[in-house]
Amino acid sequence: MTAPAETPFGLPVVRRNWPKIPALRLAALLAAALAVIPLLAVVWLALTRPASADIPPELIGRYAATTAVLAVCVAVGTAVLGATAAWLVVMHRFPGRDVFAWALALPLAAPAFALAYAYADLFDVAGPLRMFLRATLGFEALPFEIRSLPGAAFVLSCAFYPYVYLTARAAFVSQSVCALEAARTLGSSPLDAFRRVALPLARPALAAGAALAVMETLADYGAVNFLGVQTLTTGVVRAWSVFGAPGSSARLALILLFAAAVLLWVERLNRAGESYGASSARWRTLTEVPLVGPSRWLASGFCLLLLIAGLLLPAGWLAYRALTYTPEFDRILRAGSVSLGLGVGGAAVTVVLAAVIAFGARGQKLAQRVVSLGYATPGAVMAVGLLAPASLLWRGGMGNGVAMGLGLLVFAYAARLMAAALEPIDAGLARVTPSMDRAARTLGETETGAVRRVHVPLARGALWTAGLLVFVDVMKELPATLILRPFNFDTLAVLADRYASDERLAEAAWPSLLIVAAAAPAVIFLSRRVAKSRPGG
């Protein structure tokens, strides 16, 4: 016990004398620092390496412009598709609604490049769709070219709409039904109430979801590269792999890093605005509008179409192509085990680091911001940033190459995905109110004991959720793996990319589908859990 301190009024007050845990806090800050090391390295590389002539400035400008247009298209596309689907599913009853509620998130299991392979093949000049239409109609019916900027926007919108769907869904579910009912009693039709109340209230969530989709767009390498769209990220990978110019690579990465920071700012700003939804403390079971007549089939049709475009059609087509070909089983098996190992290892390391931050830096904004910046940073940028410190170690003759390469790769995953893991863990810990802490203390637990007996059990489900999220993302990751993997260590994603770039589509289909198969159970589990958790009820 510390001695009672004197207050200005002379009343003795016993100071809080709970033991601080500087060790845990220090560990949290160190974990957060891991996420920024690669980013600082990128800045350092970009500023210190001499400019070389390999990538001329006008090309950089073109990359940036293409990236910006693509980002805007995907933002609009995902926002419209995701918000519409979420609104239908949350507020209406129509055939298949309960299944769509979780199934609409399924495209998250498919890497964007898998969709790109399938659509490019389907819509190819000599592809089955055009052949069929040409034969039946007698003329060229599809002016649309998938290997183009609009094509890439279409493919990425199909792949990334679930980000908006999930955030919008959560926003609509948490909205006070009273606000909608108030609008009705003030003379708004249901559609008016959606347009004038629900949509503006969900705007922050929509913006946050669209920001996530754009982050993924900036990070994507496999899909845009395959579709022949030159973005900043393809530039980063090319500058490094083709020209071997880390300076140019880093300069391109710096632009991406800046864009990521802006996106992050947009996302955070809008997250802050989400307190909108919390203005009403009262919940009422959502009165779902049963759709009747043709509109119910229209709603079902829209959701089904979205699911078909986002997953069923491309996965189905890839499966059809895959069956025409006997794969190199041993190669795929090896890549599969590498992917699985990296996925599990990456998830474990990332969740541990995120948990350290969550427990050690609770309520501290700085660590969380730093980690979020890592999340917004494209994998390619992260990899380029890690190459510089890696080469230093390499030259120092440290360790064996393979182990260090794998270590760096896991480091890159953790730096990038810590924020994704941190979010559910933080949410889980938010259930621990300060008075629960105090209750544990008054019942005779020490502070660490309270963490062990109250915090950890309450956050256990969240830890699993975090692990699954990271696992899915690692399985789909391509550019960072491409740059950092040790020689001859192909993951499924890398293997797919190598086959695809040789136009061996039937072979690329196998690893792509295996990724979907590995990620799908996790995505289904996560999505169903989210779909079940409705406030009120």
Partner: protein, 333 residues
């Protein structure tokens, strides 16, 4: 013609009837209070009138037109009935003036703002027109919600526990302002509350509700002094239920005295038990001091009753007293 007539309304949640054959009239220009314990279905009844929920039986007539009934359900936006929600449900993305102007889509854009300001003037909040709802105090939010509902000139306005979120002194202030605005607007008003004192003070007409049914309607005074049943009496305040031991010359007699009438049970308010004189003998078993008065627990002939007596000259625990019943505060069922 009543502004709103509810005839035998029923609303089922699964097998349980939340509203079970309730009938009620709300007269134009008058303030009707719907009083009942929590969970009695009063809020559901309000939502049925507004059209926020479908009716499972009976019908609701507004201004002579059936708005809810068998195979009829007029959408809430077409009913011209205002609603003030318990949590006010102000739109957080709109300013105070924009909230009030929300329902004025029938007016040309230029007039909406002026109209909203006029409504805000009525609740004395014109100076907060540009503020955001979350910057307002609870009482101010309540007044904005009222102004928003009144702005459309509804022929009836429904208020769901409008003062329950406010505390103590603020509550009385806000209530007076709200009642003034309501009377000024002249619409029929139906207020749901679970606070008997509040209902008795505010209402022109009172409706007592329990377990999905309306027990009694009438003027507050009449409901209090001449309750239709024991249950109705209990809703409006403490009531002793005294078994009638014998009927004697038009008097129903109990352990604590008799009142004119005949029946099986006498309802006696605590203030009906008057001490002194030639009444029945009773023993004081408990005495609780409550400021201006004392609540006594009296025991006589195996019966207990609560009496409310002045502080001065109040007996103590263990004292033997004489007691009789004041018929003005009693009823026989």
């Amino acid at each position: 013609m009543s502004a709103i007539e509810v005839r035998g309304a029923r609303r089922l949640y699964g097998k349980k009837a939340a509203v079970d054959g309730a009938s009620l009239n709300v007269e134009a220009g008058r303030l009707t209070c719907l009083l009942g314990p929590s969970g009695c279905g009063k809020s559901t009844l309000l939502r049925l009138v507004a059209g926020l929920e479908p009716l499972d039986g009976g019908e609701i007539v507004a201004e002579g037109r059936i708005v809810s009934g068998p195979h009829i359900h007029i959408a809430p936006e077409e009913r011209q009935i205002g609603f003030v929600f318990q949590d006010y449900a102000l739109f957080p993305h709109l300013t105070v003036a924009q909230n009030v102007a929300f329902g004025l889509t029938n007016l040309p854009r230029a007039q909406r703002h002026a109209r909203a300001l006029a409504e805000l003037e009525r609740v004395r909040l014109a100076d907060r027109a540009g503020a955001w709802p979350n910057a307002l105090s609870g009482g101010e939010q309540q007044r904005v919600a009222l102004a928003r509902a009144l702005a459309r000139n509804p022929h009836a306005i429904l208020l769901d526990e409008p003062f329950s979120g406010l505390d103590g002194r603020l509550k009385a202030e806000v209530r007076d302002a709200a009642l003034e605005a309501l009377r000024d607007a002249g619409a029929a008003a139906l207020i749901v509350t679970h606070d008997a004192e509040e209902a008795l003070m505010m209402a022109d007409d009172l409706a007592l509700m329990q377990a999905g049914r309306i027990l009694q309607t009438g003027a507050p005074r009449e409901c209090y002094l001449k309750p239709a049943s024991m249950a109705a009496a209990r809703l409006l305040g403490e009531a002793n239920e005294l078994p009638v031991t014998r009927l004697d010359g038009g008097m129903a007699c109990t352990a604590f005295g008799g009142v004119p009438g005949s029946g099986a049970v006498v309802m006696a308010r605590p203030e009906a038990l008057v001490l002194g004189g030639e009444g029945a003998r009773a023993k004081v078993t408990a005495a609780r001091f409550a400021g201006g008065y004392v609540m006594l627990t009296l025991f006589a002939d195996q019966e207990t009753a609560t009496a409310r007596v002045p502080v001065t000259g109040a007996p103590g625990v263990g004292d033997e007293v004489r007691v009789h019943l004041d018929p003005a505060f009693s009823a026989v069922f």
